[in-house]
Each structure stands twice: as C-alpha cells, then as structure tokens.
Subunit: 449 residues, 2 copies
C-alpha cells in the first residue's frame, strides 16, 4: 500500500547512517540498516565516503553481503571485497545462485575464488567465468528450463509443479528438440490460457534466438525493438546454452548510457564517487594530459600569428569566439552521429546524405551568427574590417565543424575506436585549430601591412 518518494528516502537513510557513525553509535546504525533492501544498502554504501563505508561494511551480516556485492559495481565492489575477510566472502556466496556467483567471484582474490568454485562444484560456473561480459554469453542466465515440443500443455504444467523453485523473472519456457537444439518459446500467459490437451509445438512462438557472441548492445536493441521479456541463447550448433532476460537488458542499457556520458569526459571507469583523491586525480590526469596536447597545438597555431596580434590586439580579444562557436556547432553534430550509430540509424548507405544536411546547417548558422558577431565586433572595435574577418572565419569554422562532427565518429568506428571516448577531443582539436587559423590567417592577409 505504501508508495515511495525515492530520492528523499535514500537521502534520509544516508543522513541517519552518517550521523550514527559521527556519534559512534554503531548499534543505532545497525538498527537503521535492518529492514533495508540489498539495493538500498548498495546505494547507501556507494553514497558514503570511504571511511564511513568501511565502518558500515563491518556491521553488515555476511548473508546480506553477497546480495549487496552483486548489485554494486566496479571500484565500490572491489574496495569492499578487499575489506572483507576470506571467510566472510565464502559465507557471503553461500546463498547466491550460479549467475550471481559468476558475476561476483571474478572479482575475488584467486584463493577465495578457488575455494568457492570447489565448494559449489558446478562445472557450469567455471565455464561461465570464461565468457566475455560484453557478449550475450556474459550476461545470460545459465539456469534455463527447457521443454520438448511434443509435450502437452498438461504435461508441462505438471512438470513445472514438480520444480522446486522457478525464478520469479521466468516469463516463458524454451522449447527444444531431443538434441537440446532451439525450437521456439512458450510464454507463460499462453500456457495458462491454452487447452491442456494441446501440444507445445502448436502454441510456441518462433522467436529468434541470440548467438552466444552477440554484442550486448545488439541484444539490448533487439529487446527494445521486439518488446520481448526473454530470449534463448544458442551456440553455433543451435544448442540452447542459456537465456537473456529483460532485467539484464535494463542493466545493459543503463551501463551503455553511463559509458557514453562518462567517457565523453574521459571518465569511463570511475564508478566510485569517493575513491581516494590520488587515485581519482591520477586517472583524470590522463584526460587532462590528452587535452593539454590539443591546447598546446591550438597555442602553436596562435603563435604563428604573433606578429599579427602584436599589430592588432583586438584579434586576441575576439579569437576565442570563433573557436568556441565551432566547438559548440561541431559537438551538436557529433552528439547526433554518436547516437545515430548506437541506434543503427546511421550507416554507410545514408551517411553522405546526412553529411550534406549537416554541412548545410553549419553554413546556415554560420551565415546567421557571423552577421550578428561581425556587427557586434565591428561596433565594439569600430572596424568593419575586423568584423568581416570574424564573420568569414566563423562561417569557415562552422562548416568545418559539421564536416568533422560527421566524419570523426564514422572514422573512429571504422577503426574500432569508441567514438564516445575519442570523438570530443578530436573535434575540439579541429575546431580550435581551424578557428584560430582562419580568423588570424584572414586578418594577416587582409588587415596587416
């Protein structure tokens, strides 16, 4: 009956726990943790500065630790694993199913991992550990209930009733032939509303199955396009190896989206808001260094025109405008192309038509805004010549920005480099260099003696 106002509630938990710890009231903190869902504890842990986090981790029951670790990601997870004793980790895994284990034990220290594998004694777990996390195999559920196509609905219902426990996210059964090769899917609602004497083959859907090595991004697109809740995963012989469910797909989509946003700022792996200052600083320094290279390149271009600037100082005042407007226009195009590539909307067949359209937009906005900018600059410095140079440079830079905004991500994708990571910095290099060069170059030709 109760409803949730998520944000306020999670802040309330955080506030209580932080004040408990500030007052050394570990007993109260433990009380506040009771009744929280593992997902709430996971959110709480990832929102806590590391010293608070480790204290809370110390008072969480081992049987809760496993579910919490499965939900957490990246550094927050590995940091907490480091803080736990080997025995705690082994206890933490005892309640987990084989899929959660496969997600988790890869992050465990080697000797703990081996103990867990030994204890479970399930060869599927060792196989699962070898799968690539960026493919369907890496995200699939290896517990899959299969049924034969020639069973009747009645027999299937009977079979299900004999199962000890069916996963709550089970929406359909995978239909196979006698060699365990994929035939189709039977959705539970269909099963529930069909005549019990009918055979499975006549009510199954011929949904497409997914190959083990299908990229997770493509898996996600398939689910979104087809509005399906689960799909069978098959090997190259058509043998059913597992199933992907939509809750995994939700995680994929969220991760992909985060990847795009974070990597555009060179932050791909920073999953811990409170990682130590020096760790964060070193990681971000790489990106600053890359940018420094492009900034020096732009400065070098400006340096070529020192004599011109010495003669007309107003050029130095106005030159950032050209570079900045080019950067904005280019990043608009770049953003659309990166998104279009991810959604498969842009491909070799239509990219030239799109390029044409983007350059036309660049030209239109170049002309419009260069008139505004040229007028303002001319009035400011009482020089129509200066305004003309500024306007001309802006038109050149906005057209080049559109061109670069389309071609850079296409080129990067072809070379197998992530456009979301490298696209922005390359684009800025182009728009800075061309912006400064066109403005200062035009001024050198037409305005200096």
């Amino acid at each position: 009956m109760s409803t949730i106002i998520a944000q306020e509630q999670s802040d309330l938990h955080l506030q209580q726990i932080m004040s408990d710890l500030d007052n050394n009231a570990l007993y109260d903190a433990r009380g506040h943790l009771q009744g929280l869902h593992p997902a709430e504890i996971a959110l709480l842990l990832s929102s806590l500065p590391i010293d608070y986090r480790n204290q809370i981790w110390g008072i969480i029951a081992p049987e809760m630790m496993g579910s919490v670790l499965v939900i957490l990601q990246g550094e927050v997870r590995t940091g907490l694993i480091e803080q736990a004793t080997a025995q705690n980790l082994i206890d933490a895994t005892s309640e987990l199913d084989i899929n959660d284990l496969a997600v988790l034990v890869g992050d465990f220290p080697a000797f703990v991992r081996e103990k867990v594998l030994e204890k479970k004694g399930d060869s599927r777990l060792e196989t699962a550990l070898t799968y690539d996390g960026r493919t369907a195999a890496g995200v699939m559920d290896i517990n899959v209930l299969t049924i034969q196509a020639d069973l009747t609905v009645e027999a299937v219902l009977q079979f299900l009733r004999e199962q000890p426990k069916i996963a709550a996210n089970m929406d359909s059964l995978v239909v196979v032939d006698e060699d365990n090769k994929y035939r189709g899917m039977v959705h539970l609602p269909t099963l529930l509303t069909s005549d019990i004497h009918i055979v499975v083959s006549s009510i199954m859907e011929l949904d497409k199955a997914i190959a083990l090595n299908m990229a997770v991004a493509d898996v996600a697109l398939l689910f979104e396009q087809r509005d399906i809740l689960s799909a069978a995963v098959i090997d190259e012989h058509g043998v059913v190896k597992g199933r992907v469910t939509i809750d995994d797909v939700l995680d994929i989509v969220r991760d992909e989206a985060e990847h795009v946003v974070l990597s555009s700022a060179g932050l791909d792996e920073e999953h811990d808001l409170f990682s130590p200052v020096l760790v964060s600083a070193r990681r971000r320094a790489v990106w600053l260094g890359v940018n420094l290279f492009t900034a020096f390149l732009a400065s070098w271009v400006i340096g070529l025109f020192e004599a011109t600037i010495a003669e007309i100082v107003a050029l130095a005042v106005l030159m950032p405008i050209v570079a900045s407007m080019g950067g904005i226009a280019g990043s608009q195009t770049l953003t659309l192309v990166i998104r279009g590539l991810a959604l498969h909307q842009i491909s070799p067949s239509n990219s030239m038509k799109f390029l044409g359209k983007e350059i036309a937009i660049g030209a239109v906005n170049g002309v419009v805004w260069s008139i505004v900018v040229a007028t303002l600059a001319s009035l400011w410095f009482s020089s129509w010549g200066l305004g003309l140079m500024l306007g001309g440079a802006m038109i050149i830079n906005l057209c080049c920005a559109s061109l670069a905004g389309v071609l850079i991500p296409l080129f990067l994708q072809k070379k197998g480099i992530d456009p979301a990571l490298a696209g922005g910095v390359l684009l800025t290099t182009v728009t800075d260099v061309i912006g400064f060069m066109s403005f200062l170059g035009l001024a050198t030709i037409f305005l200096t003696n």
Copy 2:
C-alpha cells in the same frame, strides 16, 4: 534457429530500399518491406532522408502503419502523421490496444483524434490522454488483470483460462480487496508451482505499489533496484489504476539516457536525423546564441587586459590553455555530479564531503599540470615569469572548476532546472572567465611595468 547481426542487417534493408527508390522500383521496395517487423520498418523510416521516407510511407499497408507509428518518436512520427490521410490514420488505429492508442492519438490532428475516440468509445482512453507522460500514470498499462485475495489458486487458473487473451508481457497478477484497493502481487511462476487448493493471500508478494504521480525516473530506479518485472500503480486511496511493466521501463531508461546526452549539446528534442535543414538550423541556433553570449563575456574579460596583451603578445598565445584545461577538469566533475544526482548517490548529506574531495583533486591536478605547462611555456618564450603566471592561473582555474562542477548542478537542481541542459554552458562560462582573468590578471600585476 536463426541469429542476427543487427547492424549489418539494418544497413542491408536501408541499402536495398534506397536503391529501389533511386530506380523508381516501388514494387521491389514493397517486396523488401514484406516480412519486416514493425520495429525494423520504424528503424528504416527514421534512417531514411525525408523524401525517401515519404515514398516508403505511401506504400505501407494501413494496418502496419499503426504499429510502426507507436514505435516511432517525436518528429519522425508527427511528420509521417502529417503525410497520412485521415482515413489511413483511422484504419491504422483499428488494431491497436488502448495503451498504444493513448500514446499515439495525442499526436493526431484534433478532428481525427475525436473520430478515433468516438469509434473506440472507451472512457479510459480519454482519461489516459490527460495523464502526464513524465509520471507513472503516463506510462502505465491501463489494462490490468486483478484478482481477489481470498480466491484459491485453482479458481485463479480457471479465471485465467476464461480470459480471451492475456498480454504476452503479463508476469504477475495484481491482488486487490473488494474495493479494488491494492493488496499485493502474485507472480505467474508462483501460481504455476503452488498447490491448487491454497488461497492467493498466502502466496502473494507484498511488493510496493507505485503512486500515479511518481516521476518516471524514480519508477526506473525502483525497477532496477528491485529487479521486478511489473508493479501496480495506485491512486491516493490505494485503488489500482494500472500497472507499469519492465518493457516500458526500458524505454524510460533509454529516453532518459538520450535526454542527458542530447541536452548537453542543446539538442533535447531533435529526434529526426533528417529533419529539414532550416528547422534543424533554427533549433540549434538557440544553443549557439546562448554560447555566443558566454563567448562574448569571455572576450570582454580579455578586452579588459588589452594593454597587457599589447605589451606581452605571448599572453594571447598561451591564454586558451588555462581556459581549456579548466573546462576539461570542470566537466569531469560536472559529469560525475549529474550522474550521481540521477542515481540518487549525491544528496545534501554527502555533497560537502564530495565537494572537498573534488577540490582536492582539482588542486592535485592543478599543481601537477601547472608544473608541466609552466616549464613548457617558460622554455618556449624563454621567460620563467610567464611560465609562473601560467602555472599559477592553472591551479586557480582547476580548483574553481571543481568547485563550479559540484555547485552548479546542485544549484540548478534545487531551482528545478535540468543540470544536464544548463550545467555545461554555465560551467564553461565560469572556467573561461576565471581562466582568462586569473592568467591575464596575474600577468598584469607581476609582469607589466
């Protein structure tokens, strides 16, 4: 049995259709469309330049049009609705269920919408049209199967078998009392494995229900945290009004992610890659105009130091480095904060701790890179004074960038402004202004006569 390599396949469709149209082979194009899933046709249409798109739209059967329009978004959808005749639209809606209709008819011309509403004669549809699309009410499924808590499993199974058709994405039944107030959920797998003589109340889960006005972002977080496939939506009296399913949540997460990426480039609503040049140009011009204002502000700051630059031209060469490095460092912090706010990881309780950490990172990287930059600049211009000023300005700007990267999104969120939209441009204003002012100001104080 077949597997899919999504990208190549969608490009193949696109290539075939474009070449059919280039050759005026409409009959072949129609052949190529046959057998495509509505989602594939939707992707194809949104990947086609507008003239091609309208030709294809003309040869799609009306009964297919409805499903395709439901999948499409924004301008692509409204553009195609404009191209269709009123009769086509009415025919297109005849096969759609009430939820799809609610999504679609809002975009229809008023007189067509009224005709459709009249034809359906379902008052729930008119109610659904009044719901806010950014709340649970706006995305929920209004067809919901409810059962009473005192029924036996056997009675429920019998009841289901009598239903004409159950939605394929039905994973659970909503349990209500005699006033249709929410009691809990029964998952189909539980129903299938329970003793048939047991009553529903003893197997139902007490999952939390969602309020009609819960924001879609919070709905998505709830689904992700709880790994649920559907949830009941209730009004303020606890009466069940519908249910939200995970496939809707997948769309929410995708839309949210797109919103963050697109709005950072001022592109929020640009859903059509091939919208007309002037339409796109006008929309993007707004963002360029906003940026122009900040660019002029930066130029004005530089202009304050014209005399200093006239004396030391090297300042003009080096000054973009300070602004650029500040912009990069600030955007790293900004990106983390926007993401942290969206995931509810950052809240008033921990924001000051986070701010402290970010400023420390800014200081560390400021010191490290200012040493590099100062050395390079000193060697380039044979002036240790110049290098010192550059290094000092960089430390100041990187610390201010961290501060702004945390405070700007927190401030914007408090004011109800979307940080993803306005954060970047405000941050750049700060880092440009402080970058130029600190470098040129230090130089004016210490290097000029």
